[in-house]
Symmetry: C2
Subunit: 196 residues, 2 copies
């Protein structure tokens, strides 16, 4: 296997292993076995499991399709809903397991690794700013009440999403998603008063 493709195989395997098992339970050997590369080759590519975890976080983030939050074509609130519906489907397809790697790493390992904590903070921050952009666009279009602070609301909605994933996993059901969609899109992100 060429050097670059070996590195890619390790990263792909790391995303899957970290997402399914968590940081501590996914060992370097689990990852190299899943990648089909010798364990000894790991340190040719990464300094540590922690460095790999940071690359895996980025790779995982790319799969969340957050860029779609900024793509014109559909009204911004419909776009935001479609984004979370896509993520809900992924979780439902996984039988309500795995959750979000950002939240998982934040809960499990952020207190113990400054590197991973900073990675999670950056990842959540970028995601929240894309959500905030969609909310600001909805306000400009007159689709969203003007009194909401879009940055604050975006961070809150994203945090609510992370907690919703934990509840969906613990309940092994979609009830928490219903609570999220109904509350966020039915109660919070409403049109300005007097519009219909």
């Amino acid at each position: 296997m060429a050097r670059q493709s070996m590195r890619e195989a390790i990263v792909d395997a790391a995303v899957a292993q970290f997402h399914a098992k968590g940081y501590n339970a996914a060992g370097v050997k689990d990852i190299t076995d899943a990648a089909g590369v010798p364990k000894g080759s790991f340190y040719n590519h990464f300094d540590s499991k922690e460095s790999l975890a940071l690359v895996a976080l980025d790779r995982y983030g790319a799969g969340l399709r957050t860029h779609e939050l900024a793509e014109p074509g559909t009204p911004p609130l419909a776009r935001l809903r479609a984004h979370f519906e896509f993520l809900r489907e992924e979780t439902a397809d996984a039988d309500f397991t795995r959750g979000c790697m950002f939240g998982n790493f934040g809960a499990e390992i952020g207190d113990h690794s400054e590197t991973i904590r900073a990675g999670v903070r950056t990842s959540l921050g970028l995601w929240a700013s894309l959500i905030a952009g969609a909310l600001a666009e909805a306000q400009r279009a007159g689709d969203l009440r003007a009194d909401l602070d879009t940055e604050r609301t975006a961070r809150f909605v994203l945090n609510a999403w992370e907690g919703t994933l934990i509840a969906a996993r613990s309940g092994r059901s979609g009830e928490a998603f219903e609570d999220f969609f109904d509350t966020v899109f039915g109660t919070m992100l409403t049109p300005p008063p007097g519009t219909s």
Copy 2:
């Protein structure tokens, strides 16, 4: 050490170790060392680390003072706010580490232990029903808009809280708490229209 006090020492140490380190990173030996008991004595009291984790979850839950959500004397929304303020202070005092053991176990280990998953689900469910009770009381008092589904809103608020803790930890700051309090108490749990 008497048998019962040895068991209590193990449970107390388990709560602290699981909360600070997470499930996988807190080994049985870490727990018995912290409890000041021989490792060999562990299995006189518990079948497995998993069984101990379930007892630790209950013990942790008792420290959340959720019973105060149902105590009369202060208006229900003020009581709800005071409850989350108490929990926020605990997290701030721990330099924005540790989070909530329910959410931590749910994120880290719920997918891999049916016992712990069920324990987390039950714990979150009981907590949400106490929050729902406070919301229903606020509606009856005319302090909360009547169109909110109190059960659904309670579950959502609790899930938002769990995600807020992850964000506060990853940011090592109180910003996520400000987002939570401002959004929940300023935007979501508002009085019926036409009241002031």
